[in-house]
């Protein structure tokens, strides 16, 4: 954010930038925890990895109060309608993280019942690899979303970000 200091104890900036700054530091996630990735998503929210450092500790179980959807788990064709309905209920601007192999590509479920990647029916901003991904990689995905907001990008339109798997321990 560009700030300019005037002589009489005021800071001036652009409205878009200050709103973007507020938004990026208070992304409230919608926990779309469908299967085992949700366990890592809980670790990401818990005290060890502590997403509160990034202002996203307020997991909202109502889509109307959240602006970031973390899809964590295997999405079947039957579930895809539910995921899409919840996404549609979220207020704009809304961001999507595809967490884990199943969500991003169907993963090991090369099967008639599993959607081979949620980008077939949702605009995804950041993909996280891993089965399941480590919570630090999910934190990295959140930081990538924050960078996108800071750059003034629109959800679902600019370049996708792919977080690679890491073996490092926190």
């Amino acid at each position: 954010m560009e700030l300019e200091r005037t002589n009489d104890s005021f800071l001036t900036t652009q409205l878009d930038q200050i709103i973007g700054w507020a938004r990026k530091n208070s992304l409230w996630p919608m926990p779309m925890g469908i299967s085992c990735c949700a366990i890592e998503m809980m670790a990401f929210a818990g005290p060890r990895f502590d997403v509160a450092r990034f202002g996203s500790e307020a997991f909202r179980f109502s889509p109307r109060q959240s602006d970031l959807m973390i899809v964590a788990g295997t999405v079947t064709y039957k579930m895809s309608h539910v995921v899409r309905k919840i996404y549609d209920q979220m207020p704009d601007p809304k961001w999507v993280i595809a967490m884990g192999a199943c969500t991003s590509s169907g993963g090991m479920y090369r099967s008639y019942s599993v959607v081979q990647g949620i980008d077939l029916f949702l605009p995804v901003d950041v993909y996280v690899s891993g089965c399941p991904p480590r919570p630090d990689n999910l934190l990295k995905a959140l930081m990538e979303i924050q960078k996108k907001i800071a750059r003034g990008e629109k959800p679902g339109q600019s370049d996708k970000v792919y977080i690679e798997e890491s073996a490092e321990h926190a």
């Binding site: 064709y77 039957k78 895809s80 309608h81 899409r84 309905k85 090369r110 099967s111 008639y112 019942s113 959607v115 077939l120 029916f121 949702l122 605009p123």
Partner: protein, 160 residues
């Protein structure tokens, strides 16, 4: 227990048991399709046998010319601590078999699952609908001739 069971079954239903086999102390009987309901009813209600619970019921597709499908019943007698497996062979041309959900309530959802996956029709079932797949789905996915990745367009996705 095994001898008593077979003796009682042969007394009551002389021609119902087609094959008796045993593997690692697990007794399996293949029952004639027309007799499955009276046999199950007898096994459940007879006070010496008292097979009072159904532990599993599933379908199977062996993909052979005759008697392509099987329905497998795993039942258990709490009183005798004895497990029994019954099998019924079902031909592709006649997919009907009597429902045992009136004998064991627990068979209700298990029969719905076998119907969902193989298309086996359980006569007398109170609520024979698909249990996993959407109701408008037209195929039976665990049949051997169903392609692994499904039939394109058979399961709709939401609009992007």
């Amino acid at each position: 227990m095994k001898d008593l069971l077979l003796q009682k079954l042969r007394e009551q239903f002389p021609s119902a048991v087609e094959v008796v086999s045993e593997f690692r102390d697990e007794l399996t009987l293949i029952i004639r399709k027309a007799d499955i309901l009276p046999v199950c009813s007898f096994l459940q209600s007879n006070s010496d046998l008292s097979f009072d619970s159904i532990r599993d019921l599933c379908g199977a597709d062996y993909h052979r010319p005759d008697d392509r499908f099987e329905v497998i019943y795993n039942i258990y007698s709490l009183k005798n601590n004895f497990r029994l497996r019954l099998k019924v062979r079902i031909d592709e041309k006649d997919l009907h078999v009597a429902s045992v959900s009136g004998i064991w309530q627990g068979a209700n959802w298990l029969e719905r699952e076998s119907y969902d996956m193989y298309g086996i029709l359980f006569d007398g079932h109170p609520d024979l609908r698909r249990i996993y797949l959407p109701e408008e789905f037209e195929y039976y996915p665990l049949r051997k001739d169903f392609p692994l990745m499904g039939i394109p367009g058979s399961l709709p996705l939401p609009r992007k």
